[in-house]
């Protein structure tokens, strides 16, 4: 069995996993079967190190129409409409080839959303790179990942409405590219991915199948990247947004015409995973004739056809009498449609090639029988992350610190990035990037959606449980600033190697923190993604849970803005607030250790603060609202000033450190003195300087200049 041993190990299966497969099948798997099983049993497809843990997350709520397990989660937004959304990582492909990696990340998440029958209406992205000031590679990755996101999103006509980017040396070898998509669908068009109806036909839609991405996402995402990664470059898929645009319009027309029984996108592990999952959900069997699959090049082996990750393909189940109509719609959209198999009641996935059976596996073995591993969490015994190099000496005045913070790559204006994305196509964008803390999209019902995406790896590294909870609170705070009530969230858990106890500990603590915050805010998790093994020889990335949250607001005309707009307006601080320097941006600039604990979270106080801001914004009582996050209250005030081109004079409450952080808990609002009468007023809008009594006095023009140049100088 020496060759067999090499065979399964080369495909990433352990000896024990292979032994289990042999036991389950009662025989050794054939080559095609082993290729299929190795991918279905990979971390990326089977979530074998995270599935048990993810069961802790709350997934139910009154608005949830589809929860985890479907291609995307869906929540009800009233008027018979549902909004589908999901965030997904494309980290490993982007580290190898940033433009195509990021582009196909967007393409993949779009397909997840239209696979449930929703028209994609917005994209957001969350990016992490190494220190941009020190790393030419990080500048290269940033430029090309942003280019790839724009290339795909702009070309397909889906607006990119928000996102976030941070630079930390822990991401030097493992950049993060997480893409989130939202889609909109009438309830009756929502469709599940379950294959059903023995006798029905399996039809493959879209692009030709080629050798690109053989084992791409699933292989790359299931092990650490190391030396010689160029050899993995052929595993990265190439995106074609034009093909996807046609496929998208075609699928939506097929659904509107009620021609499909079910629909599923082809992502990681290609035809194998999409067909096995459809069969599993429907409790049926499938026969697939892989010699019927249209190929881009001749001579693909059956296993290559079954695992190819060629982009822009979908799989659907169609009643036999509707196949002609399906093909006719596809022809109109110049999209290929090929019957490649049939549904039966065998409970087995059979693959045929020129009449020979090349794979015959129980669907359950593919989808359900991969062993799930218990993590062995243990807090780290030694320091995991070196402190960053100090950029400040500690001698600077508060004014100089503020300018340094605004000009730092993490806090500077994202304009040079978001100007490369179209935020307005589809004519529903009420708040664009830089207008407000969350994007706002008008709904046909007259109401609106709000969406934000957040993460803060350094704070989670300091204190995984509280840091992860803070991300949820900050995301909800961003929604509150536009007046929106959260409906649900999606998460992407970006971590290192979970087989290492300290990474397992980060993961468990973070999931518990997210769970606590979700319960406190009563926001369900409706879907998400896990990206593990983001680890280099120098160590793991900062543990980086990314949260994308969707909310609803009644009146888009009253959606909040962040800018101070009116001379003489009062400025108020909303929320109980006891921030600390731990894990802050200033701590980073001062080169301090990455170590906790973060400030306590008073769940009730946070809820009250969010509700207060939501009410103030929703009732039109305030003219601006902005959450206090990175850089503390000084940076929050500066951002409000710069956005409106107006100064402010403020006296901080006794003992409040202007740069200390406790994200998600407190807000800056401005409005007429009468409207803010019952609040904790701390100052006035006006003049052309930001003056914080006893601390600093800086011209708004200088703040603006620092903020504009901070990132632009690297691009």
């Amino acid at each position: 069995m020496a060759t067999s041993t090499q065979r399964h190990r080369a495909l990433g299966l352990t000896d024990a996993e292979y032994g289990l497969i042999v036991d389950l099948l009662g025989r050794d798997p054939g080559d095609t079967e082993l290729a299929m099983l190795s991918l279905m049993w990979s971390e990326h497809c089977a979530y074998k190190h995270s599935k048990k843990l993810l069961r802790r997350l709350p997934t139910e709520g009154p608005a949830v129409l589809m929860g985890p397990g479907e291609n995307a989660g869906v929540v009800d937004v009233g008027g018979g409409l549902g909004v589908a959304f999901k965030v997904e990582s494309h980290n490993h492909p982007s580290a190898v080839e940033p433009f195509q990696g990021a582009a196909t990340g967007v393409g993949g998440i779009l397909r997840d959303v239209f696979a449930v029958g929703a028209r994609p209406i917005a994209v957001l992205d969350s990016l992490r790179f190494g220190e941009i000031s020190e790393s030419e590679r990080s500048r290269y990755l940033l430029e090309h990942a942003v280019g790839g996101i724009g290339h795909y999103g702009n070309s397909i006509g889906v607006p990119t409405v928000g996102g976030e980017i941070y630079f930390e040396s822990s991401y030097e070898q493992n950049c993060l590219v997480n893409a989130m998509c939202l889609g909109l669908a009438p309830h009756e068009r929502l469709i599940r991915a379950a294959a059903a109806g023995p006798g029905n036909v399996l039809v493959l839609l879209g692009a030709l199948t080629g050798r690109d991405g053989i084992g791409g996402a699933s292989v790359l995402a299931s092990a650490e990247l190391g030396e010689g990664d160029e050899a993995k470059r052929p595993s990265v898929q190439i995106g074609d947004p034009f093909a996807e645009k046609k496929l998208l319009e075609c699928c939506l027309e097929l659904l509107d015409s009620e021609l499909l029984v079910s629909l599923q996108d082809l992502g990681a592990a290609g035809l194998t995973s999409s067909s096995a999952e459809m069969a599993s959900k429907g409790g049926v069997g499938l026969d697939i004739d892989c010699s019927a699959v249209p190929l881009r090049e001749a001579g693909l082996e059956p296993f290559e056809i079954m695992v190819s990750e060629s982009q822009e393909r979908m799989l659907c189940v169609v009643a036999p009498e509707r196949v002609e109509e399906v093909i006719a719609v596809c022809e109109r959209w110049e999209t290929r449609a090929t019957p490649i198999g049939a549904v039966n009641d065998s409970g087995r996935l059979r693959v045929l090639s020129d009449g020979d059976v090349v794979a015959d596996l129980p669907v359950g073995v593919l989808v359900d029988d991969c062993p799930l591993y218990d993590l062995a969490p243990a807090p780290p015994q030694t320091r995991l992350y070196a402190p960053p190099p100090a950029a400040l000496t500690g001698e600077e005045s508060p004014g100089e610190i503020l300018v340094a913070l605004l000009g730092s790559a993490n806090l500077a204006s994202r304009r040079p990035v978001f100007e490369q994305y179209d935020p307005v196509v589809q004519s529903r964008t009420v708040r664009r990037p830089d207008d407000a803390d969350a994007a706002v999209l008008a709904l046909p019902t007259g109401e609106a959606l709000a969406v934000a995406i957040d993460g803060n790896g350094r704070r989670v590294a300091c204190d995984p449980r509280r840091g992860a909870a803070e991300v949820v609170y900050e995301c909800a705070a961003n929604l509150a600033c536009v007046g929106a009530t959260p409906l649900g969230l999606t998460n992407c858990l970006n971590f290192g190697n979970p087989e290492k106890p300290h990474v397992a500990w980060q993961l468990v603590e973070a999931v518990d923190g997210i769970t606590e915050a979700c319960r406190a805010l009563d926001v369900p998790v409706v879907g998400g993604n896990v990206s593990l093994y983001n680890e280099a020889p120098s160590g793991p990335i900062f543990p980086t849970p990314v949260i994308g949250m969707v909310g609803r607001l009644a009146d888009p005309a009253r959606a909040g803005r962040l800018a101070f707009t009116q001379e003489g307006d009062a400025i108020a601080l909303v929320g109980e607030f006891a921030p600390s320097a731990v894990g802050s941006e200033l701590a980073k600039l001062r080169g301090e250790e990455i170590a906790g604990p973060l400030p306590l979270i008073d769940e009730r106080a946070v809820q009250e603060a969010h509700e207060t801001v939501r009410q103030l914004v929703g009732s039109g009582s305030v003219r601006s609202a902005h959450d206090i996050a990175e850089g503390g209250i000084a940076v929050a005030l500066a951002e409000c000033c710069v956005a409106g081109g107006l100064g402010a004079t403020v006296a901080l409450p006794e003992g409040l450190d202007p740069f200390a952080e406790a994200p998600g808990r407190a807000f800056i609002v401005s409005g007429s003195p009468e409207a803010l009468a019952g609040l904790q007023v701390i100052g006035r809008v006006g003049g052309d300087e930001l003056e914080v009594a006893g601390q600093l006095e800086v011209a708004v023009s200088e703040l603006h200049e620092a903020r504009e140049r901070g990132l632009a100088k690297f691009l």
């Binding site: 046609k246 994305y421 179209d422 307005v424």
Partner: protein, 238 residues
Amino acid sequence: MLGGVSPTVKFGVIRFPGSCDEVDAQLACERVGEAVILWHGDHDLQGVDAVVVPGGFSYGDYLRAGAIARFAPVMVEVTEFARAGGLVLGICNGFQVLCEAGLLPGALLPNTTLRFIFRQVSLEVATSGSPFTRACAPGDRLSIPVKHTTGRFYAPDQELARIEAQDQVLLRYAPGHNPNGSLADIAGVCNEARNVFGLMPHPEHAVDPLTGSVDGLAIFESIAAHVADSVPAGGVPG
């Protein structure tokens, strides 16, 4: 606006595979009249009074922006319609398509930054002497977004001189607002007969106070007013 006084203007917005802003254009047109989507593969303009060639990435724009769309079946009818004096508005990719089709002078080259750029820019109305800007006054400032990678207007010296001499530049980027390196800050030009107009900015994304400015409405109102003045009900010129 036109409210009840004039006959309803019917716009046709072309949909190529890869068009992105056709529904946005349709919504904008519907603020001043009726609008239907015209399929790229049909030789049929459905009796519309004005044609909009919308933004997007027709056929993926993998060859050269607009280079393939000009050969679409429907472009035969669009060209005939234009030659007969019908109003044709090309926005962004539509401008590129109309240049490729020879219906407009000049060409659009990659932005000087070589990057896609989205920006809300300020435009200056160069002349109100066209069916597309008659609702404006010369010197009016319009706040309208641009979003493109290939929007740098270029024409050889002689052609540029002719364009300027014949007052074919309808819109210019206001000083300091040229986002792409266009010659003479040109944001939009018309043909000699003044019935075909192309511009890189997107007036259809500036028609609703909820989602931005409303300055783009002036373009659609101008078209509707011109059609109402010049076309007998239900007729197409020529």
